[in-house]
Symmetry: C2
Subunit: 383 residues, 2 copies
């Protein structure tokens, strides 16, 4: 390799620039125009989501979810510690106290067996994160939530086009199970729009209010559908909707979703086949995909045995011009959380925080690059 | 005229599509890249703003301002009633109670003479809105704020490239006077990016925290500047930064700011010259631009004598294929505000709410179209 292998490179395959031109030349570039509606319909039709609303980011979709759940000061929200800050900041902005739950020992996702013990009379919602597009055990999570009358929000930032098959044997798209779900189209995701996200509303009680909050707290959407005579200020809200330029880009990506997903799965499998003997030899651990989950090939990660080993491997890869990266820092140990909360012990969140490495992963990653990365990891473990 | 004269049409003059292509082909389309930095530098250099941060909307810039001012439940914020919902929703999201102030009798901007009587021990900030890009009387506002140790946030959504000349005789750009200011680049503004906005930080106490809040509550910006060793969760925040695709579009607009502004002023003056005799005859009122303010030609409006007359004129223009529109509804009379607050009397907010009409206004509006609109308004008043 002459050049560094980048960690990520946004995929551009189809009509992205054409559709952007189209939206500009038609003279509508603010939000909620033709391409936004096409994206909404695409997701609603393909995945059976009840209602979709594009947002400027997954963070913003989570903020909409927090508003819709009427989170207020004093409420508690249970969330994994091994996640991005927005998973919890969205709820803290509404006044919630976050109660962090550990990851599974065999996977970065929330340990569904440890949720129940964290529930108090103040608990209002459970946020689950489908890490790497791999499903949390949603039957277990929904049972606990239903027993305790809690909302479930799926942080499906990484989970587009991934599925959960629970006890009933029915394959359900991730993002369709909780009352609300949030997706990301940030440039590091499978399907992208630069910055961007989407709120999915599965519980119809939230549908009307979601539209209002999305439109800055006005009933403008209802007005344009002829449901009210004039529109005005009826609620809190924000400017959650993205420009048509962003929606145009996203729609072009959706037209190639299948092609993108097929290629990513080929990359994922090549990594897996190449590295599985190291896993079998107990030298590192590859992703464990539970039977109830599909694999959307969002990322390829390996888990080292220790922080020190991870550090050495990252340095070794860097020396070989391979941009691999670690991922989340345990949020329960962050400066911000510890300023107002005692330190708790969440060993598997810490384990993934200290030992996980994400390998380069993007549509245009070439076979010889993957093989080079595999060979370097093998070389590292042979030393 | 064969065709309807639209109320607005986004202006595209220069390298918008080229720069979008460039950002896409260079493979960085998430936020805070090359074009975002170019936009920040442009504004900081041209207007002397201390620190600029692009946002996904003006609403989001106002939300950042509310977070920076540490607005919390129990705090009061004084704002005009004649404004867009986001001016106040941004503060309500942090828990503020809004105390509405009336407009001036001769202008939709906040009546600076009525602010003082609204201040209580709970007041934390004053939000002023430079309506139509015309300055509020900032010397008066800043004096009141300084005497009472209040923050001043300029909602400069419509006020790009407009100036205030106060007692000291120095011409200051709007957005440079309060501790914080928010601009909009929504497609209806002079300079656009579809959806988009910008926070201006003039008080250096806020600079570091503004960057953190902008980056979702992490110290990522400080990390990339080498100021800290690693980055993590240190604060609340959101995903306020727009995609590079949006910044690329905006930067192309900025390259043509002078040309856009010159053309808009020509349009504004043509309307003014054509309609001033109706003003002189007392039939309607044109915009009053105080001596301390420049005119950035953001919009052209006329004020009718009554709601009924306004209604007739709007219908008459519509019949003649002219898309003129009314503007804000008084927020103090909205369903949302009245649900928790008593009705107060703000006659000049109501007056502008009931009697103001915005005429079609965009870069490509042709002289013969302007003349046609003028002739139709004259015809209406001759009847």
């Amino acid at each position: 390799m002459d050049k560094e292998i980048r960690f990520n490179r946004p995929v551009i395959l189809g009509n992205e620039i054409e559709y952007i031109k189209e939206s500009i030349l038609e003279g509508q570039i603010s939000g909620n125009g033709k391409f936004t509606k096409k994206c909404h319909s695409y997701f609603e039709d393909k995945y059976g989501f009840k209602k979709c609303l594009l947002t400027t980011s997954c963070t913003d979709a989570l903020e909409m979810a927090a508003i819709l759940c009427e989170i207020k000061p004093g409420d508690e929200v249970i969330a994994p510690s091994y996640t991005f800050v927005s998973t919890v900041n969205a709820f803290i902005l509404r006044g919630a106290k976050i109660v962090f739950c550990d990851s599974r020992s065999d996977h970065p996702c929330i340990d569904e067996g440890k949720i129940k013990e964290l529930i108090t009379t103040k608990t209002k919602a459970i946020v689950v994160v489908h890490y790497a597009g791999v499903a949390c055990d949603m039957d277990e999570v929904m049972d606990i939530a239903n027993e305790n009358k809690l909302f479930v929000i799926e942080d499906a930032a990484q989970a587009i086009d991934s599925y959960y098959t629970g006890r009933d044997g029915i394959k359900k798209p991730l993002g369709s199970i909780g009352q609300l779900a949030a997706f990301s189209f940030h440039e590091t995701k499978n399907i992208i729009s630069g910055e961007g996200g989407m709120l999915v509303v599965n519980d119809e009680r939230f549908e009307k209010r979601a539209e209002i909050i999305w439109e800055k707290g006005t009933n403008r959407s209802a007005f344009f559908k002829g449901e009210v005579d004039k529109y005005g200020w009826v609620d809190i809200g924000s400017s959650f909707l993205p420009s048509e330029i962003i929606a145009a880009f996203l729609y072009a990506q959706l037209e190639n979703l299948e092609q993108i997903q097929n290629k990513r799965k080929v990359i994922w499998n090549r990594y897996y086949e190449g590295l599985k003997s190291l896993d079998e030899q107990g030298k590192l651990r590859l992703a464990n995909i539970p039977e109830f989950s599909s694999n959307n090939a969002h990322m390829f990660y390996v888990v080292c045995k220790s922080f020190k080993e991870r550090d050495s491997l990252l340095s070794f890869l860097k020396k070989n011009q391979i941009s691999a990266v670690f991922h989340y820092l345990s949020l329960h140990k962050s400066a911000y959380h510890l300023a107002g909360n005692p330190l708790v012990d969440l060993p598997y969140s810490d384990h993934h925080s200290e030992c996980l490495i994400r390998l380069p992963f993007y549509y245009e990653l070439r076979e010889n690059e993957i093989d080079f990365i595999i060979s370097k990891i093998e070389e590292f473990y042979e030393c």
